[in-house]
Structure formats: C-alpha cells, structure tokens
C-alpha cells in the first residue's frame, strides 16, 4: 500500500523527481503548509529566502537561463503572488522556462474576496505559457509534471500552479504518475518537411547577399554548432539579436555582432541590402526591425521558428518552417553550397570600418566613460565571465563592448526590458554557474529597483560581482529626452545612496572607481573575494549609446556618433 502524503509533501516529492535543486521563494499564509513540509525535504532541496517575490521569479529565470533547466519560484497568495507578475512577464517575453508555485485561499473561499485572495490564474493568463488552479489533491502530481513539461518543451516559458491551502493540507495515498505525458492540445513540432527544406535550400544556394539572423532560439535549441556550419559552409554572414548573443563566437570572422536599435551599423546596413534573410529562432521584434514597411526591402525571407504564431506575425516571409531549429539546420546543412560572396563581404567590411572610426573608445575623455568601464570589465575577465545585465544604456554598451565567445554567458531581459532584473537573476545563476566568474552590469536606476536582494546575495554568499554604472541619470531615458524631447530632463536625474556605505551596511565589500586605471586593480580585489562584491563606477553623465535607430524609424536610418575627423569631439 502506498504511503499517505499531504498535498504539501507531494509538491516537494514532485519537485525532487523533476530534478529541482533549488527553489527561490517567500513564505506566507496560504503557502505555509508547503513550507512546513519543506522541513522534511530541506536536506535534498535548497530553498533561498528572497527579499521580494519579484526577486524570486528573476532568480528562477536567471537560474533557468544559465542552466537550461526549469527554475522554480514559490510565493503565497494575493500580494505575494502578484509581486511575481513582473518576473513572470519577463520570463514569458524571453521564453525562459520557470514554474511558479503560489498558495491560494481554500477552495471553498475562492471567489469570496477572502483575505489575501487574488485570482492568479486570471492575472497571469496572458503572461504565462499555461497556468493551473489545482482544486483537488488527486490532480496535484500530474499537474506539476505537466507544468514542468510545458515549461521546458517547445518554445519554453513560465507556467504557474496555484494551489489552494486545503489542497496542500489534504492527504492521499501517493503514487507518482509515470505514464508518458499526453496533452491532446500540445505537440511541439519536430522537423521540416522535404518541401520546406528544398524551398529553403533553393533560396540559400541562389542568394548573393544573404544574412543569417540568429536569435535566442539558437541557444534554446542548442543549435550553435549547426548555425556555425551553415555560416561557414554557405559563406554567409551572421548577425544576432540581443538574446542571440553567444549563438556564434563574437570573434568569429562571420559574426557581424548585434543588429537592431543599438546594434552595429554594418549588420543593419547588411540586412537592408540583403537579398536573403535566414531568420533562425527569432521573432522580428520591433527593436530589431525598425519600420516594418521599409525593412529589408530587397530580400526573400526564410523563417525557422518553433512557434508557428511568430511566422508572418511581423514580417511576411517566403518560406516559413515551423520546427525545431537544430533539427531543421541538420536537414538543410548537408546540401548548402559554398558560394563566393567576396563582393558582399567587402561591402560589409566598408560599413564596419566607418563604424570603427566613430568608436567611443577612440575618444579622449576627461571623465570615465561607461563604454570604457565595460571594455575594462571584458579585459579583466578575459572575456570569459558570465555576465548579467540590467536594462538601459549599460545593457546596450555591454552588448557592444563585452564580446561573448561562448553561448549561455549573457543573461539579460530582452523582450520585456525589465529594470531590476540583473541582481536577482545573477543570484539565481550563481546556483548553477560555478566554473565562471559572474559579473553583474547594472545602472544606478536599475539597481535601486531590486536592491533589497543584496541581503539575499550576502545571506547565500552568492559569488557575484556587482558593477553599478552610475551616471546619475536614468541614462537611456535621458538619452531619448536629449534626442527627441529637446533635452528636457524631466524626472531622469536620480539620487543614489552612497553605494560603498550601502555595501558596508549589507556587509559585503564595496568599492568606488572613478578613473580608468583603477578599474583592473579593483576588479582583482573583487575576484579574490569569495562572495558578493559591489563596485560603483562613477561615469560620464551625458554620454549616449550609438548608433541608434529611433523607435519606428527605418533600420538604415541610424543616428550615428559624430565622426571625430569631421565633427567636434564633444562626447555629448
């Protein structure tokens, strides 16, 4: 006869069987039975007490992005659960597999506006891949299995499981379900048809000016080798999206770097002049396309994408292949022909050289520039760190000045652009990333959104180096105000605490750097310290990120950094 288990115990039993090593969460009334049961499991499963439930979801997300496994966050009902919303939306936009377990008021009280009752399946409906309200203990184990399966398969994403308190307290004879999961409405696609392969090959082998657009899907599908083979065999330049960074080594001669709003001018020009785009696991977000009406007007388009609803959503394509990217590339690559495209590469080279001359690193500046700081961080980590960024100017500068040669070494909030992501995401990543240094690059605005997680970092002795790029402004917003709102800096100057003293108060080492020559020595101190370290970089306030495609403008219509040879050298 099977053993009797409570719903709360079943939760942990199921998490163990899913291979969960760590859960990020915060207890409260409606989830208390599950926390109480944790006392029987905490030798097998690590729980991290966060300081805000948003942090729990970002940590689960950060852990998931670093490990490729499902991250787990836990919270109580009502405000505990609603605090998770930003983190869930962030994971949804970036296809990150997390499972959020929330307590709910008892089944009998649901709908009665009980204390700390919020309709969480309703609230999270549009920002989860799927969600569940478990109303009977008999369904609990199977629901948790399905949730993990849905979160990690197909296009990954967040799944929320709302468990009423009485379901956690109920008991049954527990038998873990072992039959294969069969969801009648959920079948992630596998491979391309022969016709699709032939149609794609026809376009690829005929193209004179092709460009590969590599997105997050390359990393999710683990198709880095296949992508590289396509690029090298077909002699085709590659540009990546923000989340596609690492799909091909930055130092690879065919990698043009990041495209889009703050991408390189040369990949953007290449896209506009291309006669074929091969979109691999990306979704033509407005930040990479600019004005859709003028986007890559001369090209045919192949779109390989696991989510059928992305194909033809923003950009009309000629060949849409709804399947797993790695599988499709393995189907296509053997018949890709090497074509001489030296004229095309020559053109790209010209665009690139023009950009190099405008590079901020060529400029003399009396103040420390954020770009210089980030370049130094790259230098001081031999370009091999696991970097977590927040959102804004420092994020875009990271993409421009920290070259990633390895996949899964950059974690950043792309689609949602969630300020406050980096510190908790890095704490989450630290539970998986043990063979690399973890460096957080975060602005002075962003850090103050989730700064309470410093306590979590110290409590867990998370081995993370937090670099606050402090320009005294909400930098990217200020840049928009300067460019598009006649420099009216409304509510963008932002006050910061003394970060060194703050670090001291939270009991972690804190340093302040104002000169470029102090960066590497300070980094050494951080690298020698086991545990979290905070470094504040005081940088130039009025520097901008270039190039910039203004929102909705044509992709080739970039605002460029003034050319040092022809225009004044002011960095403003």
């Amino acid at each position: 006869m099977a053993e009797m288990k409570t719903g709360a115990e079943i939760v942990w039993e199921c998490l163990l069987r899913e291979g969960v090593e760590v859960v990020f969460g915060y207890p409260g009334g409606a989830i208390l039975p599950t926390y109480d049961a944790l006392s029987k499991y905490n030798d097998k499963i690590k729980h991290v007490l966060v300081r805000h439930e948003q942090g729990a979801t970002h940590m689960a997300d950060g852990y998931a992005r670093a490990s490729g496994k499902v991250g787990v966050a836990m919270a109580t009902s009502g405000p505990g659960a609603t605090n998770m919303v930003t983190g869930i939306a962030t994971a949804m936009m970036d296809s990150s597999p997390i499972v959020c377990i929330t307590g709910q008021v008892t089944t009998g009280a649901i709908g009665g506006d009980a204390f700390q009752e919020t309709d969480m399946t309703g609230v999270t409906l549009p920002i989860t891949k799927h969600n569940y309200l478990v109303t009977h203990i008999d369904d609990l184990a199977q629901t948790i299995r399905e949730a993990f399966y849905i979160a990690r398969t197909g296009r990954p994403g967040p799944v929320l499981i709302d468990i009423p308190k009485d379901v956690q307290n109920a008991s049954i004879e527990f038998v873990y379900p072992t039959d294969p999961i069969d969801l009648p409405g959920y079948h992630p696609p596998a491979k391309a048809t022969d016709e699709e392969v032939a149609a794609a090959l026809e376009l690829i082998n005929k193209a004179e000016r092709p460009v590969i657009l590599a997105g997050h899907g390359v990393l999710i599908s683990g198709a880095m080798k296949e992508l590289r083979e396509l690029a090298e065999k077909g002699n085709i330049p590659v540009t990546t999206t923000l989340l596609g960074i690492g799909a091909l080594p930055a130092s690879h001669p065919m990698n043009m770097g990041m495209m889009g709003m703050h991408g390189g001018s040369w990949p953007n020009h290449a896209i506009q002049e291309a006669d074929l785009l091969i979109a691999c696991g990306m979704r033509f977000d407005d930040r990479v396309t600019g004005n859709l009406k003028t986007y890559s007007p001369k090209s045919k388009k192949i779109h390989i994408e696991i989510d059928a609803s992305e194909i033809n959503k923003n950009v009309k394509v000629d060949v849409g292949i709804h399947a797993d990217l790695g599988t499709v590339l393995r189907q296509i690559n053997p018949s890709v022909q090497r074509v001489d495209r030296s004229a095309w590469f020559g053109k790209i080279k010209d665009w690139e050289e023009d950009s190099n001359e405008r590079d901020i690193l060529q400029f003399e500046s009396p103040t420390l520039l954020a770009a210089q700081a980030i370049r130094k961080i790259w230098e001081g980590t031999n370009g091999a760190a696991f970097v977590v960024t927040d959102v804004g100017q420092h994020q875009m500068l990271e993409c421009q000045y920290y070259s990633h040669d390895d996949p899964y070494t950059l974690s950043t909030s792309g689609g949602a652009g969630t300020m406050g992501f980096s510190l908790p995401a890095a704490i989450g990543a630290s539970f998986h990333v043990k063979d690399r240094e973890i460096w957080v690059i975060v602005g002075d605005g962003c850090i103050q959104m989730t700064i309470m997680e410093l306590a979590t970092a110290v409590q867990e002795n998370a081995n993370i180096n937090i670099c606050i790029i402090n320009n005294g402004y909400l930098g990217m917003v200020r840049q928009w105000q300067q460019m598009f709102y006649e420099s009216r800096y409304v509510e963008t100057p932002i006050y910061s605490p003394d970060y060194v003293k703050l670090a001291e108060a939270y009991r972690l080492p804190g340093y302040r750097v104002e000169k470029i020559e102090d960066i590497l020595p300070t980094m050494r101190k951080a690298q020698e310290h086991n545990g979290p370290v905070l470094i504040e970089f005081v940088v130039e306030q009025f520097d901008n990120v270039y190039p910039m495609v203004p929102a909705g403008a044509d992709l080739h219509d970039m605002i460029r950094r003034p050319h040092p040879r022809f225009e004044n050298m002011d960095i403003v």
Partner: protein, 176 residues
C-alpha cells in the same frame, strides 16, 4: 468575408476565458462565438467568427489558437464548403389583430412560433445568418421587443473534420 474557425478544446474550467482572452490580447475581434459539447466526452466545440479580412492575420489567429495548451485542433473553414446555421429567438409585439400577419412572415422563413402571449409572440428562426437578418428586417415593423441569437455554428460537409485527438498538429508542421 468573415473568417469562420472551428476549434475543438478541452472541456475544462477557464478554457472559454482563455480563448476569449487571446482575442482581446492579440487585438483581434470576435464577431460571434458559439460553444457546446462535441461528440467526444471531455471535448467542447467552438465556432468562432472573426471580422479579420487579411489572410496573414487570419493565419496568425489560427496559429495562436493552436498554440494554446487546451486547444486540440483548429480548422479555418472560411473557404470550405460548410453547413452554417444560426438560431434566433425573436419576441415580437402581436395582438389578436397582427398575430396572423406575423405568423405569415414566420411561415415564409420556415420559422416556428414557440410562445404565445396576449400581446407577444416568440419566433424561432434557424438558418444562415443572412436569413436571420432578413427575418429580423421583415419583423421589425411589428415592433421587436427582444432578440437572442446563438451566433453562427459551422460544420464542414463530407468527410473533412477536425481531429479530437489533436494528431493533426504534429505532422502538419505549421501549415495549418
């Protein structure tokens, strides 16, 4: 032409909300939605009519429906040969003088009188939506007090039918 979709969905709490919410979230408009049990226990069947004219957007609607975990199969039957029906209950003012005239109209539309009051009649009309429109127009001069329409329901003619086990999804590879 209006887009007509047939969706087979799992008969679980909240599924109708999920489908309706999808349309709202993606900025698509539902013209009518009819839902009820199908021939398979645990599977509900929906007929969804949208006002979307553009082919690419129609495909996106379909792909988004497909993507939902609780949606088993979706067919866009806009261009297919279908039996389309809608039923309307129409309450009309009718006293002893006008009752006969109303009944004549109902006869022409092959409708039925399903309730008779001293000053009212309830008329039931079934047919393609155009027929319902026409019946409503003709009855309007008698003073219509209430209308309840079911929304369009659709079934493809012959052997074409959606799959209740969802197996069409995997091999079709996105070419839905």
């Amino acid at each position: 032409m209006k887009q007509t979709l047939i969706a087979l969905v799992e008969d679980k709490p909240g599924v109708l909300n999920r489908v309706a919410s999808l349309f709202r979230r993606r900025n698509f408009n539902i013209e009518s939605l009819a839902v009820g049990h199908s021939e398979v226990p645990g599977v509900s069947r929906m007929t969804i009519v949208t006002d979307e004219e553009e082919m690419l957007r129609r495909n996106i609607i379909k792909a988004n429906l497909f993507k939902m975990v609780n949606v088993i199969d979706v067919q866009d039957v806009t261009e297919q040969s279908c039996v389309l029906r809608e039923t309307a209950l129409i309450k009309v003012e009718a006293d002893s003088v006008t009752r006969g005239q109303v009944m004549d109209v109902v006869e022409m539309y092959r409708g039925r009188i399903v309730d008779v009051g001293t000053k009212t009649l309830i008329v039931e009309v079934t047919g393609e939506p155009e027929k319902i429109e026409s019946a409503i127009n003709v009855l309007t001069p008698f003073t219509i007090l209430e209308i309840m329409r079911t929304g369009k329901i659709a079934m493809t003619r012959g052997e074409v039918m959606p799959r209740t086990n969802g197996t069409t999804k995997a091999p079709s590879n996105g070419k839905h």
